[in-house]
Subunit: 414 residues, 2 copies
């Protein structure tokens, strides 16, 4: 009989966001008419920018004409989009990246989940704790993480706690590993890596012949131009780092789906006999076999994000969310909460009051303030005692959420 | 150092279609001005139907309004699309399928590549030869296929030759296997399974506790209403079969990307201790972790395929391609070729003249008729001596291709 992939047994019981969805749905059903404010899942709320809408309409029209119709596109993306990426995401930062190093995809979640496929089953893993669940779960499914212990950790993974003491941005460890996942600006903690910290990671990777998987899905939220937006701003990163970026948050594409991964030509892994293999070639083969490209109309929309108009309009969207983040940061601090991050990321990392557990405080925020958050422990054991608050919402909802939270929980400490 | 996934070493040298692309590009460069007619890759050529275009424009407008904007959607698809699928693809054939058994995706290629992930690494495989390369390559990458032999076959796969003798639709073997991939109407041979043959497969799967992966991406091209369109028309199939369907060919979505997979609740695999696990739950977990849904606007477009207008317009597109197939079948036969299929599929399977090898005839068709075909051997060793001719093109190009092929190769046999 067909055996199932028993590595799935080692997954934590539920993927975090569906679990939150279930709890929120149950609450809504038990409390009809309760007006919930969703600051949980990091989903954008502003409509698509006019430049993006116009590009979509135009591309749809093309698809309706015999001359303009496009069937299968290049698996790795259309040149017009790749060139815009190279110019605006890399050229403007003085980074030389080539078109054949870019892989356009339907999301950074997918890229983060798929990238592990090109590595051997015995690669050792280094992850921060808390961590975006996809990094770990995709490796669990592939059998690379080992059994799930009662402490919520997997036997074959090396975890680095992200704590208040290290600013929620741990430095590389003494020990080596084959693959390390980094996320900056960080989901969930909202921390950000500066040049010095990122350089320590690149140096560690080069010293240990490790590969860094650098998730920069939130780079557009970095407010300080001196902070690195790409890992390739660090010398030597092209030899050891894979980078992922997304249109989801910076341009409201969560429901439109477009992202990309960069694998520099110099970035290699090894075979059991020590031969070096360019990782880019493996991922290209993966894309050719398992992917059929992002819809043409969506790629046109993504390219419009880089137009003069699109850049202006999307920057306004980011500014809106970051002003929300500022309001939340200040309002929650005034209410007596210990609040971290939210300065270069659309997420705040908030200590639960009175030593409450993450899920406990999640339930109380829901019941007493009708506000949906994300329990920190859902991202890993070291997230216990925190919740993540998202800045993706309207100003009205943010203000109302602050009023309700203050009413329900204010300690008057501030 | 990070080890690469060395199973990739067992892949045949190149994924077929990029290889064809390279050869065609080289020819075009060496012969500037040569007007090529592409009957190779199975890509649609007609523009999107008006009903689909209207749905796209409307959905884009929704995404531009605060009320209508949609961010992350349900990973497995919006209810409006799943309900339309259930009603039109299943209800009309008297098949009861439930909403929570349907997984909307961005393509049957992806689904066919991803489905193996939920099975154990030691599952035995049964494949036809020739075969759609994704079935085999996705299993090679996962380490399930074994080494690639000099005969082009993988050590751990049981192949069933699809030959003229069995009508290019082999019956199930004596031996058992855990997973068997079926494709009807078949890509590449264009053969189709009738009720009796499909029932033999379902019975074999049930007798052997095997899982059938039934790819029905081309079901819309079946001309005889008595032929099965879904494997669930066969009693017992819900216990052993996973089905995949696509909007790519029936509605011109190759550049828009939408498909779906059905996994019935009764369809299970087993653990090493013999416990039965619903495959649907594993795939749901996979989708939740590694996928973020199909763009809202594309799902609206797919739903429009099922509207009264959409059904009429898409049926005309299918009829256009099938009339091409008829012209090609008759024209090639008249030119002296031995031609198979093309009656319930947009593909013809054509014996090469004079015992030429597939790639040899591919090159001669390209050089002497400026027609792009697909070498049968690219789909497996048993495809040697055949080429696949696609009916996806304009009538003018089909007629011109026939004139050129007849001029270059006619034996006057007919």
């Amino acid at each position: 009989m067909a055996r199932v992939n028993e590595h799935y047994r080692n997954l934590a019981a539920n993927y975090l966001f569906p679990e939150i969805g279930r709890r929120v749905a149950a609450f809504a059903e038990a409390n009809p008419g309760a007006e919930l404010i969703r600051l949980g899942i990091g989903d954008v709320t502003l409509p698509l920018a006019p430049a993006v809408l116009r590009a979509l309409h135009e591309a749809v029209d093309e698809m309706g004409s015999a001359q303009g119709f496009r069937g299968y596109g290049p698996e790795n993306g259309y040149d017009f989009l790749i060139e815009a990426i190279l110019e605006h995401d890399y050229g403007t930062r003085g980074i030389a990246t080539r078109a054949d190093e870019v892989f356009v995809s339907d999301g950074s979640k997918q890229d983060a989940a798929n990238i592990q496929e090109i590595f051997g089953a015995d690669c050792s893993l280094l992850l921060s704790d808390p961590v975006y669940p996809v990094y770990i779960d995709s490796n669990v499914m592939a059998g690379r993480a080992g059994a799930l212990g009662p402490d919520g950790r997997h036997a074959k993974v090396h975890y680095q706690p992200a704590t208040e003491a290290n600013g929620f941005a741990p430095d590389p460890p003494e020990q080596r590993a084959d693959l390390a996942y980094l996320c900056s600006p960080n989901n969930p903690t909202g921390s950000v890596l500066d040049h010095a910290r990122l350089a320590r990671w690149v140096n560690w990777a080069r010293a240990n012949d490790a590969t860094l998987i650098f998730d920069a899905a939130y780079d557009a939220f970095i407010q300080d131009p001196a902070l690195p937006r790409s890992i390739y701003e660090i010398p030597g990163a092209r030899e050891c780092a894979i980078e992922m970026r997304s249109f989801s948050k910076r341009a409201g594409f969560t429901g439109l789906r477009c992202a990309y991964t960069v694998i520099p030509a110099e970035c290699t892994g090894s075979t059991s006999t020590g031969e070096r293999v360019p990782l880019r070639e493996l991922f290209r083969r993966r894309h050719a076999t398992k992917f059929n490209g992002v819809p043409y109309i969506v790629q046109r929309a993504a390219a419009a994000v880089f137009s003069a108009e699109g850049r202006k309009q999307c920057a306004l969207q980011v500014a809106h969310y970051m002003e929300n983040a500022r309001c939340l940061r200040e309002g929650l601090a005034t209410a007596g909460f210990k609040v971290f991050a939210g300065e270069h990321a659309p997420y705040l990392w908030v200590r639960t009051p009175g030593g409450l557990g993450s899920w406990e405080f999640f339930e109380r925020l829901l019941a007493e303030a009708r506000v949906v958050s994300t329990p920190g422990v859902g991202f890993g054991p070291a997230g216990e005692g925190y919740v993540r608050i998202s800045a993706f919402n309207s100003r009205e909802n943010v203000d109302e959420a602050l009023r309700r939270i203050t009413r329900a929980f204010s300690t008057g400490a501030a």
